[in-house]
């Protein structure tokens, strides 16, 4: 996006659609077919932890086109979706392969428009967080104490300023930067567990998942396991996203690989390092997609292909939380 382009039109913040408390479980294939359409704005969130990789792969398998992907840390799964031709625009605050290297396809798209241009809207992490906060709260903008003096507002006209109606520290009018809301057509997040109605529990890094789900018009939650209502209700503070904000629950063990799920499996750091090499060579990257995404029917096949050895290398031991007492009326 250039400095002379008009800002992206800000969609009217529609209220969330009425949702039923029914059983919302479905397959990944069905969820992507139902909720991700060509041209949609799709938020995929999970900060290093619980990255919804399997959902990204299913979007590739179903051949979606022209997507606007919103993701704070555009990493491997975004590079894969770019290489598969799904993405026309990226909204992000970090475009790199963690600390393990580069994203080959993303760099080719941005540096050389190879094989085609990519519209890129750049923010800082807090800017992205504030866009989700505004979206989740149906606010016209969200203020933050960043961006003054940065070159980012010159290349991203969505970054604007507001004058505070209260006097500043020196008694004079005070200006503050603001960002516009983001309201994705669909947000997809990965989590450890949910009940069939979508009450979703997450521990370890919780990132921006709650805000991304509440900002969205529809939301898909992918979980390591489906649990009984009683498990969720034994610890209601652990519920990051209540059922009323969720449209689909997809059970997909190891769906975050090569990312991790705290307490379930660890991060596949070797694959992160390998990706810098795979993605550097377009042919090798396409071969990887052919083998691991187009060449698998679903994520269960992908996981099977990882093999027992690799899965066991990522196994974790036990470190249980000390239970708390919610109390019971006597």
């Amino acid at each position: 996006m250039g400095p002379d382009d008009p800002p992206a039109p800000i969609a009217e913040p529609r209220p969330a659609p009425a949702r039923s408390n029914r059983d919302k479980t479905m397959s990944m294939r069905e969820a992507v077919a139902s909720f991700v359409r060509d041209g949609d704005t799709v938020a995929l969130e999970g900060f290093t932890h619980l990255i919804p990789t399997a959902a990204g792969h299913e979007i590739i398998r179903q051949g979606r086109r022209g997507l606007t992907v919103v993701r704070m840390t555009a990493d491997i799964v975004v590079d894969q979706m770019l290489a598969a031709g799904c993405v026309a625009k990226l909204v992000s605050s970090f475009v790199g392969n963690s600390s393990a290297g580069s994203l080959g396809e993303l760099r080719r798209r941005i540096e050389r428009a190879d094989p085609e241009p990519l519209t890129f809207e750049e923010y800082s992490h807090h800017g992205m967080l504030c866009r989700y906060l505004a979206g989740a709260q149906r606010l016209p903008f969200y203020p933050l104490r960043s961006y003054a003096g940065s070159d980012l507002p010159a290349v991203n006209p969505a970054l604007r300023k507001v004058t505070s109606p209260y006097p500043g520290p020196d008694g004079r009018p005070e200006q503050v930067y603001v960002v516009p809301p983001v309201n994705p057509d669909v947000t997809i997040v990965h989590a450890q567990r949910a009940d069939r109605r979508g009450n979703t529990q997450v521990w370890g890094l919780t990132g921006v998942q709650a805000e991304a789900v509440y900002a969205a018009r529809t939301a898909v939650v992918v979980v390591e396991e489906l649990v009984d209502d009683d498990v969720v209700r034994s610890d209601p503070n652990r519920t990051l996203v209540p059922a009323h904000a969720v449209d689909a629950v997809v059970v997909c063990p190891r769906g975050a690989h090569p990312s991790f799920a705290q307490g379930y499996y660890d991060r596949d750091n070797a694959f992160y390092r390998a990706w810098s090499h795979i993605s550097k060579d377009p042919a090798r990257l396409q071969a990887w997609l052919d083998e691991w995404v187009h060449g698998t029917r679903d994520h269960a096949e992908y996981v099977a292909r990882l093999g027992e050895q690799r899965r066991s290398e990522l196994a974790v031991g036990e470190a249980l939380s000390v239970p708390v007492n919610y109390g019971r009326r006597l």
Binding site: N21, P236, T239, A245, Y326
Partner: protein
């Protein structure tokens, strides 16, 4: 049958097919619980304290009763509850009470008399102002229908309906008050630009009695219905399952 039983049963029926209700304690809790067992099996009951999907073991005495927490589906920080759930537009119906209501469904819960030196200082908004601005619809339950509470002119407007907001250039998310359920009958309006009209009376109550009990010139619908009294099944659920100790069914 008590007046509370009547009001709870009527309010419950109005929740048919709704998914999320923002309930206060007392009659709204009884109505939401009865609806959950009858016409709205999917109903998720949300409290401003942060509780979503409460499954209380006992009838709650406050919106923060410990029995609402234990076994709930989610407990959110209040900033999330007001910011994401309510302002985000996830509430179908909010229940409110008030000391005064006018024909447009504006509410006063702050003060009787002059705000600066009131005759009676009332509790204030709590979350009422936000429920009015953000729920799709608001139901008001008033135990006593009198000209002092159904007034032509509020002493103070705490929670404005959409007409007052529009006059300031703001279109709120919801329709404001769409139902007022009282000991005399049911008033209704569809949304902005409409006055509350008498939609139905309880058995034995006349239209003129309701108009006399209302502080403004109350219009009546073309055909004012008669409220169907609670069924035996509704009464049994209320008395035996929902409030067996008669905390609110007084």
């Amino acid at each position: 049958m008590t007046s509370s039983e009547l009001l709870a049963a009527v309010a419950a029926r109005e929740l048919a097919g709704r998914h999320t209700v923002f309930a206060g304690i007392g009659l709204p809790t009884l109505a939401a619980s009865l609806a959950h067992l009858t016409v709205a099996p999917d109903l998720e009951i949300v409290y401003e304290s942060g509780v979503c999907g409460a499954h209380p073991s006992h009838l709650p005495e406050t919106i923060a009763d410990s029995v609402l927490i234990t076994g709930a589906e989610a407990v959110l920080p209040m900033a999330s509850l007001f910011g994401y759930v309510l302002q985000g537009g996830h509430i179908d119906v909010g229940f409110l009470g008030a000391a005064q209501i006018d024909k447009w469904g504006n509410l006063n819960s702050s003060a009787i008399g002059d705000w600066h030196r009131p005759d009676v200082r009332l509790p204030g908004s709590g979350g009422a102002l936000e429920v009015m601005a953000n729920a799709r619809e608001v139901f008001v339950v008033m135990r006593r229908h009198t000209p002092r509470s159904f007034t032509e002119q509020l002493d103070f407007c705490t929670s404005p309906g959409p007409d007052r907001a529009l006059a300031e250039g703001v279109r709120p998310l919801g329709a404001g008050v769409t139902r007022v359920i009282t000991d005399l009958g049911v008033l209704a309006r569809a949304g902005a630009g409409e006055e509350l009209q008498l939609a139905a009376v309880h058995p034995g109550v006349t239209v003129d009695e309701v108009r006399a009990a209302t502080g403004w010139d109350l219009k009546a619908a073309d055909r004012v219905g008669t409220v169907e009294p609670p069924t035996a099944a509704e009464l049994r659920l209320l008395r035996e399952h929902i409030d067996p100790h008669r905390v609110y069914l007084r």
